[in-house]
């Protein structure tokens, strides 16, 4: 009996290997053997996931990968300066929504379509259609795809479901309910700690990434159809006011200095009933070594404002340097292809990195190990509802984010929001580069 099973197993394996062999027979993984490529990476959960696997890639292809990781604050600086200086840089991580226009104009992004369509370079199993279309679209400039998504982000309302159960609160479905819930929990003493209702990012430019969801949900936008700044538009101003008031009245003290680090720390320390921030932080909240609220967190889509529930979607992608040599570009493409293939996307998802591939989310393995199905369901829902224009549609994104951030800070500090927004709109019109 055992022998029979072994035979069958062997036959199955042989079949699989042959099939797999034929499928990848077109792509010679060793075609760039001996090449050395250099990737500049942001210190990100995906990076932490993929780095130990690089030797597998090197064995498969014979390509040597130099992998340089930098912390977030300094990463962007370093990357821009290196690209400009023309150093040996073959691939890098980029948030297309933030830098694609700038980098495209500067000539630093290599279109990937030719690589994807080349059967000698791209394995059929890589299956480009498996990626969520909205993210592929977000990584496209002038009709050309310039990045492959590795981390699909959106923001979620994370809340203390244990407290909601205890006090019989339902999950806020509208902005008004959000405010009421925050008000309810603010100041309550629970477990000897004085609670705040909600914590959000408030630190100027950094806060715009979260505030933008409120912008859209209140019917605002970055620009008018005529292309001028809409920072002083009614929907936009309403979002500034609501966001600022929420943080000012029901959030932690010193709201205008809250970055995700302080915000998530508060929530994980158990001092906030709710937090609105990136979905990728689930891996932090649910880690008992770091978080005191592990296992007690529920996840929901952003409550609906007058214009509905419109969270933003953003992503980190891997891109190739246009100024690299053709040979190294193709070698870099092999790396990107490998790093974003189905097994690796699933592996990343299993350690908490929201993958950009539908197959990873739909896989049986993930589903069986998913301990936060509400996070999964609501992340996917947010992907569908999501607005990819999470940054102003300009080249000088950081500068405009900075200008916008000033209004957020003013709103949190209780200053005249209309006046501040008007000033910011004028400044934005003056400074924006298209």
């Amino acid at each position: 009996m055992k022998r029979k099973v072994a035979c069958v197993a062997l036959m199955v394996m042989l079949c699989v290997v042959t099939v797999a062999g034929t499928a990848s027979a077109q792509v010679n993984w060793k075609q760039f053997q001996g090449t050395e490529i250099r990737f500049l990476m942001n210190k990100h959960p995906f990076t932490t996931f993929i780095e130990p696997k690089i030797p597998d890639f090197e064995k498969l292809t014979g390509i040597k990968v130099v992998f340089e990781v930098f912390p977030e604050d300094q990463y962007r600086n370093k990357r821009t300066i290196e690209l400009n200086a023309g150093g040996k840089l073959d691939g890098y991580m980029i948030m297309p929504g933030q830098d694609d226009l700038y980098y495209w104009k500067a000539g630093w992004l290599q279109p990937l379509d030719a690589f994807i369509g080349d059967s000698k370079l791209t394995d059929a199993a890589w299956d480009p259609k498996d990626f969520f279309q909205s993210f592929t679209k977000a990584s496209t400039v002038d009709g050309k795809q310039i990045g492959v998504v590795i981390n699909a982000e959106t923001s979620l309302l994370s809340y203390r479901k244990d407290l909601f159960d205890q006090f019989k609160r339902k999950v806020p479905a509208t902005m008004k309910e959000l405010e009421e819930t925050a008000k309810f929990f603010y100041g309550k003493e629970i477990d000897g700690k004085k609670m705040v209702g909600i914590t959000l990012r408030g630190k100027g430019a950094a806060a715009t990434s979260q505030w933008v969801d409120f912008l859209y949900s209140f019917g605002g936008s970055w620009t008018t159809p005529q292309g001028k700044s809409n920072l002083a538009g009614p929907g936009t101003v309403a979002s500034f006011k609501f966001y600022g008031d929420l943080l000012k009245n029901y959030g932690p003290e010193g709201g205008s200095m809250l970055h995700w680090a302080e915000s998530t720390s508060m929530f994980m320390e158990g001092k906030s009933a709710m937090i609105y921030d990136a979905n990728v932080f689930k891996s932090l909240y649910e880690n008992p070594k770091e978080s005191k609220v592990a296992g007690k967190v529920g996840y929901a889509v952003i409550p609906a404002g007058p214009a509905g529930s419109v969270p933003h979607v953003s992503n980190w992608s891997l891109s190739i340097n246009k100024n690299s040599t053709p040979e190294r570009q193709k070698a870099a493409w092999l790396f990107i292809q490998w790093a974003t293939n189905k097994p690796n996307a699933l592996g990343a998802l299993l350690v908490g990195v929201p993958a950009g591939r539908a197959s990873a989310w739909d896989s049986a393995e993930y589903k069986s190990k998913d301990t936060q199905p509400d996070w999964t369901a609501n992340t996917k829902k947010s992907f569908e509802l999501g607005q990819p224009q999470w940054n102003p549609p300009v080249i000088n994104v950081p500068e405009i984010r900075d200008i916008t951030g000033q209004v957020i800070v003013d709103a949190i500090q209780g200053k005249d929001v209309e006046a501040s927004a008007k000033k910011a709109a004028e400044l934005m019109d003056k400074k924006m580069e298209l």
């Binding site: 912390p71 600086n77 932090l284």
Partner: protein, 274 residues
């Protein structure tokens, strides 16, 4: 009797004051070490824990996961090279400035010390592009020279000025060349100054953050830049920062303690004899 009591009382007051004045310094350092000995979750808890079971896992992680020994090595190499080159170039220059009153060169040195460091970054990066020197010890050492060379030269001018001219004249009457007199007579006289400027140069180079940040790569990353490794996308590892900070700050501080007299003397000399 009363006098003794008064003296003891004054003594108590004094020592209490001395302790009070030392507390702020000691506290921060102690807190730094404690942060490194706690876990991540202990570090964000409130009230802050003063009594806790220490763990060494952060310190271990700093060495194992973050390649810390290599960064220490880089910092050592770059600071050492920068100091050495600054001494070789700066000692003769300072001597000449002191002896021949070459104020114009002195101004160039002052200029170097006044310019904000950020101004150097972009020109430097463009220059390095042509010379293909990014992520090399050469590039980093050169940029650290901006700090160390002016400092060494400026400090040494003061020391050389205090060497009496007659000593050199006497040596030359005896048949020494100027070069010999410089090396055999003058330099030993200012060896305190040399020690001071070497120490100062080393410390400032070791602590240099901005240049190393922008111009280094994995091969040449130095210790201050490495501290930022603990801040990543979605996580700040406070415990790791505590451990790393301790490992960075303690060696230099302990070293400074042992050479404190030299440091103070050098600073005072340099300050007074501008």
């Amino acid at each position: 009797m009363a006098k003794k009591a008064k003296q003891t009382f004054q003594s108590v007051i004094f020592y209490t004051g001395a302790v009070a004045l030392s507390v702020p310094q000691v506290f921060v350092f102690a807190w730094m070490i404690m942060t490194g000995l706690k876990t991540g979750s202990q570090n964000i808890s409130y009230p802050p824990e003063f009594i806790f079971t220490p763990t060494l896992e952060n310190f271990k992680a700093v060495f194992q996961q973050h390649n810390f020994l290599y960064y220490l090595f880089n910092s050592l190499v770059i600071a050492g090279l920068a100091t050495l080159i600054s001494l070789i170039l700066g000692l003769p220059a300072a001597y000449s400035i002191a002896k021949y009153r070459q104020g114009k060169i002195g101004i160039m040195i002052l200029l170097a010390r006044m310019t904000p460091f950020v101004s150097y970054l972009l020109p430097w990066y463009i220059i390095f592009r042509y010379l293909k020197l990014i992520d090399t010890y050469t590039a980093l050492t050169l940029t650290h020279l901006i700090i160390t060379l002016p400092m060494v030269t400026w400090l040494m001018v003061a020391f050389f000025e205090s060497v009496p001219a007659d000593l050199e004249d006497a040596a030359m009457i005896d048949g020494c060349s100027r070069l010999q007199s410089f090396i055999r007579i003058v330099l030993p006289l200012v060896r305190n100054g040399i020690a001071t400027s070497a120490i100062m140069s080393f410390i400032f180079s070791w602590n240099q953050f901005l240049f190393s940040l922008i111009l280094s790569g994995p091969k040449t990353k130095t210790v201050p830049v490495a501290v930022y490794n603990f801040i990543s996308y979605g996580k700040i590892d406070w415990a790791g920062i505590g451990a790393a900070a301790t490992l960075i700050v303690l060696p230099v501080s302990v070293f400074a303690f042992f050479v404190r007299k030299t440091i103070v003397q050098g600073l005072t000399m340099g300050a007074l004899k501008d």
